[in-house]
Assembly symmetry: C2
Amino acid sequence: MDVRVNLDDFIKEFAENCENVQRKYYKKNQIITTYIQKRNQICVLLKGEADLVRYDFNGARSIIEHYTAGDFFGEAFYIVSVNNELSVEAKKNCEVLLFSYDNLYGDCKYDCKYGCKYHDMLKENFSKIMVDKMKALNTRIEILTKRTIREKLLGYFNILSTRKLSKSFTIPFSLTDLADYLSVDRSAMMREIKNLKDEGIIEKDGNLFTLLTF
Amino acid sequence: MDVRVNLDDFIKEFAENCENVQRKYYKKNQIITTYIQKRNQICVLLKGEADLVRYDFNGARSIIEHYTAGDFFGEAFYIVSVNNELSVEAKKNCEVLLFSYDNLYGDCKYDCKYGCKYHDMLKENFSKIMVDKMKALNTRIEILTKRTIREKLLGYFNILSTRKLSKSFTIPFSLTDLADYLSVDRSAMMREIKNLKDEGIIEKDGNLFTLLTF
DNA sequence: AATGATTTGTTGCTTTTGCAACTGAAATAT
DNA sequence: ATATTTCAGTTGCAAAAGCAACAAATCATT
């Protein structure tokens, strides 16, 4: 099993066969879960797109991670030491599997006709999932430590380009959200994108970007 | 076993009794390890202080984590997706335990007169250690997403204050290093610290800070 | 105790960023 | 099909941050 699970092979069967799991539906802009209730919830996004966001005390929004079908999220992966409100927001209509970490590691007291074979698989791969989360956090830190908007943009573009093995790539969210992900002012970011275009460093067609240098 | 291990109860015994482990000494400013060689190394800092740092392509230094005695570090906890040079630098003379992740999970082919009881303990607690690492990463992200130096400083001070359960606390490194941790220019940070003092928001005596507001 | 290296503290100047405000385009809902 | 909301793109201006350079203080080493 890959860290980013194969839906066909694993999750669908899990959702259909293990009674110890909830399947829920969320509409666009609904909050799927918040990370303040110490529920140790584990979630798998089956369909749709969602963001893990933080709202600062002064209202500034910051996107921590972006999820697509097959991604794991939930409090269990994201224990935080500081007092801040984290929540997962549906960006499109979403279908989500929900179960708890305690449930996963503790005794399964419910009837589970497959003997929790799916729980066991998750258990075994929990550390792999954690490692994947760590990668995402490290990636974000790498970008946030860049000191200028230009470097943040280019750093992020390079990561997307490397992932796609192509000079061209689409950003996984709107430009407004990209600013929140890079943690910079949107208009300042737009200005910098314009500069990069004018200087012939990137090309942009909607959300499709191309790196012209290397 | 706590995530930040109790040296007396665990590590010292481990170091003395398990033959599958190396103990090494590093002088101040020496590089303890780099995260590019895929050695899956796990390290425990027995004595001294060290920083996990990244050097940008243009030379900008950035402190990711700060370690004191009892902390775990090493590639195994810090797998990164992007191409950047991470290294752990001794800030003082250090004593370090070294062993490998593969060794931990694979069969222990060496003689280990305690039957690798220590390895087993680590194995069991690996996910806890990972969670601790995640906390550290999340803390750093929380600070880095703040948009001004003032907010970064106050955010970090609040975390230190909360940890110590006191309005007064000492920063765990020099002001120069603090700037690298917050990923900002040192002189600009000093200016902002001065502003905070002048406005009666903080007090500062060397590396001892006090938050005057709440 | 003297020397050299590092850290702290400060300042002038320039560049970058954030803020506010607005327009047109695109998407969504009625 | 039209109204409404969201998103993209711009700009002027003010505030913040970075850069460079230097002196004073502190720390470390011989």
